[in-house]
Symmetry: D3
Subunit: 69 residues, 6 copies
């Protein structure tokens, strides 16, 4: 009965089909690796505004810009 | 000083009064069962888009549709 | 299909019966207030060491000691 | 730069190799479905005591026992 | 490689610059106190509607109103 | 009334004093940047076993070993 929370940045218009692929993929991974029952596996996807995501002490967009230099 | 996070699907227009009932109910439960002080009990409710919630390897709406067959 | 996460301090030996009461209580609250199906309601309880919990800019035990003054 | 949190029950001695498979599998899923960079994808696995996990208004073990009837 | 999640109420128009300060501040705190590498430190900020945040068994705004009496 | 969750790897014996510094530092950051009241700011620190933390599609220790090559 696993619970999975996936946090991604809100950008590029993630489609319902892509979200369904994430749900199916993680659920099957837990079934294949640990024998978990898909019927009691929950997956919740959070989309987070780019301003609200930081890495390398910088907001996401600044971090990416700096990496490309 | 408990912290409670309640995640529900965003659907059916959950009212402020219903949210207040969830906040009151969980806080009183923690006081009654464990003697926790309501003044330092926090409750955060997250409403999650239906596309972003999966169970049974399927997005929520497909899971419900399949169950009803 | 709600998901509830309850975080409490690890102290005073919380029993399995008390945890079962928290699980039952929150699940029934979500059924009563929002009509959620108990069969797809998950509750996860995290017990957190006292050193790892802060409020009022202080670790939990110091916060309580200061309040009692 | 996704962040994934996987919560499973602590039981049956999950090995380091199985955990590595979960980390690899979810990271590759996010790369394949959304083009996310594995180098900035984080995965955190939480193992939760069986007493602390509830579903169907019951602790996990009671829920399973009741299902098998 | 820490992960930090900051939840605040959605109010008063928090600016991108303020969010950047939270990201920078927590990342530098983890570097200064524990020697953590900023390049693999992630910070995610969640803004939560006031109706969805409870403390003292009350929604946030009612809690504040009551305190001021 | 912010809530902050800090996840770090369990290693190198993080002391109670260091945890107190993280609690104090994040609480003061939220007061300084957003004017949040320290008395209703909560901080919870989770220490996660190294096997349970992944980045770059690898468990943390393997990721570090590979980086140093």
């Amino acid at each position: 009965m696993p619970y999975v929370n996936i946090k991604i940045t809100r950008e590029g218009n993630v489609t319902a089909a892509q979200k369904a692929s994430l749900i199916k993929g993680t659920t099957e991974l837990l079934r294949d690796v640990l024998g978990k029952d898909p019927n009691t596996t929950m997956v919740v996807i959070d989309e987070v505004d780019l301003d609200n995501w930081g890495i390398g002490a910088l907001p996401a967009l600044e971090f990416r810009a700096q990496r490309q230099k």
